[in-house]
Amino acid sequence: MLEIKLYKTIDATSENCTGPIGELSSAMNDAYVGEGVAILLGDEPTRDDVLVWARRTGNEVAENISEGGKFKLILRKVK
């Protein structure tokens, strides 16, 4: 798999007014094209929401794994 330079990792497993997609959208805005942002999520529905958001915004899902009931996605900025 192509090595991706991570801009940052977001722990979005806790309650937060901005929400996981809000945190992610900001980080993807600041990432450079080609860089990735990792996000840790606490439940499957939220993971699915983030996957829909990634498709809608044209960000590539480079990694999608489950770790001990939590979920980790790495999104790569492609444009």
Partner: protein
């Protein structure tokens, strides 16, 4: 002599400095410890009040006092050039200020806040009203009073921003204001948000989506503000949607303090990588961060800073005296949410427990107003 420096004299910096001084008052009296707040501004602003100013529910003069007046007598305060931080040198445990001085620290608390970036969106400065600083909140109130009908667009340019519930609040307050004025049918209100839904927490999103539907407020999400055309009175999103407006009320993009970026301590938006439990800056055991300053995925709100101040002040005092164990921050946040000009609800939650907002009522509205009044006498001075 040991030195505790608190970078930033906003709500978070003031409260944490007062709590630290209270815990170390004996050591300070004996000349063993100094606690010093650094800030370029000698005024202390209660920023949550700006929303109420923009809707005529609070007087502008009620939102600020001299910073010295709310600091514990044991706390030193440097402002102007003496308090303007130009560089934080973590390797040498010091902060440089604009007057050329260098301030050594044994423990540092970073509470440098979030800052408005009006120029980040083309046309924003010319075309948007906002209530995120006092001057613009005053201007907005004048426009609200003279608005006789047309399209009002409430837009959040980018997340995260301070006071996350404020876009919901101003939308519902505008709705209620024009209902009470008898001209609501002449006012179209559109709410634009840069992620799906109207808010990031599912319980709150469900409640507010329902209230918006009842009140006839149109939702546009996801709508990520790309530009404002002040001449044509039109905003355009990155998703390609355009909306006309007669009045645009918008939340500008936010960033962490410039000195954080200049000191190499933050990410590209100058938020500081911070442990969500210990509130220590990652890689530094003598630098604490709190409030809007951190990159923690948590609400950038005054209550967040206040709750964090209990953890940070305890741990700073423990490090200075070496006499007690450390505390961790459980992620507690509390915010009132105005749902009109005389009603509100609230959310309280932590890292593990989601909020369950109660049905809006006048009791919570009066509680919100009472808290604003009591902030100066009780909370800023950390009587509780």
């Amino acid at each position: 002599m040991k030195n505790v420096l608190v970078a930033g004299g906003g709500l978070g910096g003031t409260i944490v400095a007062n709590r630290i001084a209270q815990k170390l008052s004996n050591e300070i009296d004996k000349g063993e410890v100094n606690v010093t707040v650094l800030d370029k501004d000698d005024k202390h602003f209660y920023q949550p009040g700006f929303l109420l100013v923009s809707m005529g529910a609070m007087e502008p003069g009620e939102t600020h006092v001299p910073e010295r007046s709310v600091l514990d007598r044991h706390v030193k305060f440097l402002s102007g050039d003496k308090g303007t931080m130009t560089k934080i040198d973590a390797a040498n445990h010091s902060i440089s200020t604009a007057d050329g001085a260098s301030h050594h620290y044994d423990q540092l608390v970073l509470s440098t806040g979030s800052h408005l970036q009006f120029d980040e969106i083309p046309g924003f400065t010319e075309g948007a009203d906002t209530f995120f600083n006092l001057e613009k909140a005053r201007d907005m109130w004048k426009k609200v009073q003279s608005f006789t009908g047309g399209k009002i667009v409430v837009d959040t340019a980018m997340l995260p921003h301070k006071c996350p519930v404020a876009p919901l609040e101003v939308t519902l307050m505008l709705d209620d204001y024009f209902r009470k004025k008898g001209i609501r049918e002449k006012v179209q209100i559109d709410y634009c948000y840069p992620v799906p839904g109207v808010f990031g927490i599912p319980n709150v999103n469900r409640m507010m989506t329902g209230i918006f539907a009842e009140r006839g407020i149109n939702i546009h999400s996801q709508f990520t503000l790309a530009s404002v055309d002040a001449g044509a009175r039109k905003i355009t999103s990155k998703e390609g949607e355009s909306l006309d407006y007669d009045m645009l009320v918008s939340v500008p993009p936010h960033k962490g303090a410039q000195v954080i970026g200049d000191s190499g301590l933050g990410d590209r938006r100058n938020w500081i990588p911070t442990d969500k439990f210990t509130l220590l800056v990652k890689g530094h055991d003598d630098i604490h961060a709190m409030g809007d300053t951190t990159d923690i995925a948590i609400s950038k709100a005054g209550s967040t800073a206040d709750y964090e101040s209990y953890t940070v002040s305890h741990n700073v005092a423990a490090d200075i005296t070496g006499t007690d164990g450390k505390k961790t921050y459980p992620g507690t946040v509390f915010c009132f949410i105005a749902t009109g000009m005389d009603q509100a609800t609230y959310i309280k939650f932590d890292y593990s427990h989601p909020p369950v907002p109660p049905t809006p009522s006048q009791i919570y509205w009066w509680s919100k107003l009472a808290y604003n009044k009591l902030y100066w006498s009780i909370h800023a001075r950390t009587m509780i």
